[in-house]
């Protein structure tokens, strides 16, 4: 019963960890616009902590460059469960204009399980807020079981160099 009582507050105080995995800074500026007076994400209790150990939502931008992937996985494993991952921007979802490039990893879902995809280059602040609100609903339903990054578990299903998005969508 106490667990049910506490579960209600996950939605009311989600703290966000924003990580730039090689983004062009466009999405990051839109995220900052969400925190600014016009959209004011803090009214939903959202706080940009910058500290993985105290975060609930992992908000990632950028197509995951080879240099940033280790940090991406490390940050993901440091967030205590329950946690959700939001991929913000076209690059983060699929690789975007950087898809297939030698230094790019074509989206974060090669490495960590993603709960919400926000398309757009760059996504509009309203889209980001909508994505985060969807993430909150998923966060409320999640269990406290340990979630592992994909690459380490060897669960990745690859199709001509990329990931099979159709199966992924079915599973989520």
């Amino acid at each position: 019963m106490i667990a049910e009582f506490l579960r209600r507050f996950r939605k009311k105080s989600p703290w966000v960890l924003h990580y730039n995995a090689g983004s062009c800074n466009g999405c990051d500026i839109e995220i900052l616009a969400c925190l600014a007076p016009k959209y004011d994400l803090e009214r939903l209790g959202i706080r940009n902590t910058g500290n993985p150990k105290q975060s609930d939502i992992f908000l990632v931008t950028g197509p995951v460059t080879q240099r940033s992937r280790e940090r991406l996985v490390e940050l993901y494993t440091q967030i205590p469960e329950p946690k959700v991952v939001v991929a913000c921007g076209s690059c983060t979802c699929t690789g975007g204009v950087f898809r297939g490039m030698y230094g790019s990893e074509d989206g974060i879902d090669r490495y960590i399980p993603v709960d919400v995809y926000i398309g757009g280059c760059a996504p509009h602040p309203e889209q980001i807020i909508d994505g985060l609100v969807q993430a909150l609903e998923i966060l409320e339903k999640k269990s406290k079981n340990v979630e592992q990054p994909k690459k380490l578990m060897g669960e990745i299903s690859e199709r001509d160099g990329g990931i099979d998005k159709t199966n992924m969508a079915g599973k989520l």
Partner: protein, 273 residues
């Protein structure tokens, strides 16, 4: 009354922190989080999967909270002001020990800066306590509250405390020890989930402690004390919004060259008059 205030202190502190976040948002013409947001945060944090660095680190966080509460209890029960300041110092020192015990760069940088901040802030606190002693003839809080208001006789001491306030609350411009965009919380960075709760709540208690010190300047005039505490609160929130962070070396320089000098001048004036 003392018992009720002491037991209710975390709740009062949470409300105060909620008001502060709301006020800060309104000053930036944002809507801001709900008033009870700090308590939502608290419930959420206890729902996270517990992750601990090591038991000593987590225990220090809890003792840090306990020491902050004891400091507040000493004030509310009308005890010795110096004892209260000692417990406040102890509470800060315990968090520093926790910060040093984790093998984390930001945690240690934060602890070092916190240590430097304490070296600059605590002398001001002690000197303002001596200022109360010169005015009322006692270090007992109950005696200070029975004496006439000490605002005008020790206006310099009040100014010194007002300058030191952002440092005591780790707010801009003196928030180098916490430096959220820079070292991500400093000594508290490695706390998570229910272990962070203690550190988070200790911050609220610190707020109550500091504004109670400001309240003491009102003496037996309750209304004056409340006015002083409220205006100090507004000033701190305004300064937090309006100023940028100063480097920790500059913080020490400003605190020693302005706040410490004012507090010392306050004592000299108190002795001469």
């Amino acid at each position: 009354m003392s018992w009720i205030l002491t037991l209710m202190a975390p709740i009062l502190g949470g409300l105060l922190y909620g008001i502060e976040r709301k006020l800060k948002a309104r000053m930036q013409s944002r809507q801001g989080p709900p008033l009870l947001q700090p308590f939502y945060d608290l419930f959420k944090l206890s729902d996270k999967r517990p992750m601990m660095i090591h038991s000593f680190h987590a225990a220090m966080g809890i003792v840090h909270f306990a020491a902050a509460w004891v400091a507040l209890a000493v004030l509310f029960f009308g005890g010795d002001l110096l004892v209260a300041i000692f417990f406040h110092l102890l509470s800060a020192a315990l968090l520093i020990v926790a910060g040093y015990s984790a093998r984390s760069a930001y945690s240690r940088i934060g602890s070092t800066r916190e240590l430097i901040a304490i070296a600059a802030l605590e002398p001001v606190l002690i000197l303002s306590a001596i200022g109360f002693y010169l005015h009322s003839g006692s270090f007992e809080v109950s005696a200070i509250l029975n004496a006439p208001p000490s605002l005008l006789p020790s206006i310099l001491g009040f100014a010194a405390l007002l300058i030191a306030l952002p440092g005591l609350l780790k707010k801009s411009p003196f928030d180098a020890a916490e430096g959220h965009q820079e070292i991500v919380g400093g000594a508290e960075i490695e706390f998570s989930g229910r272990f962070y709760e203690a550190v988070y709540t200790a911050k609220w208690l610190d707020m109550i402690f500091v504004f109670t010190l400001v309240f003491l300047f009102g003496g037996n005039n309750l209304l004056l004390g409340i006015t002083l505490a409220v205006s100090a609160f507004l000033t701190v929130v305004f300064a937090d919004n309006a100023t940028a962070r100063v480097r920790y070396t500059d913080m020490v320089r400003i605190l020693y060259s302005v706040a410490f000098v004012l507090a010392a001048a306050n004592l000299i004036v108190g002795v001469v008059l």
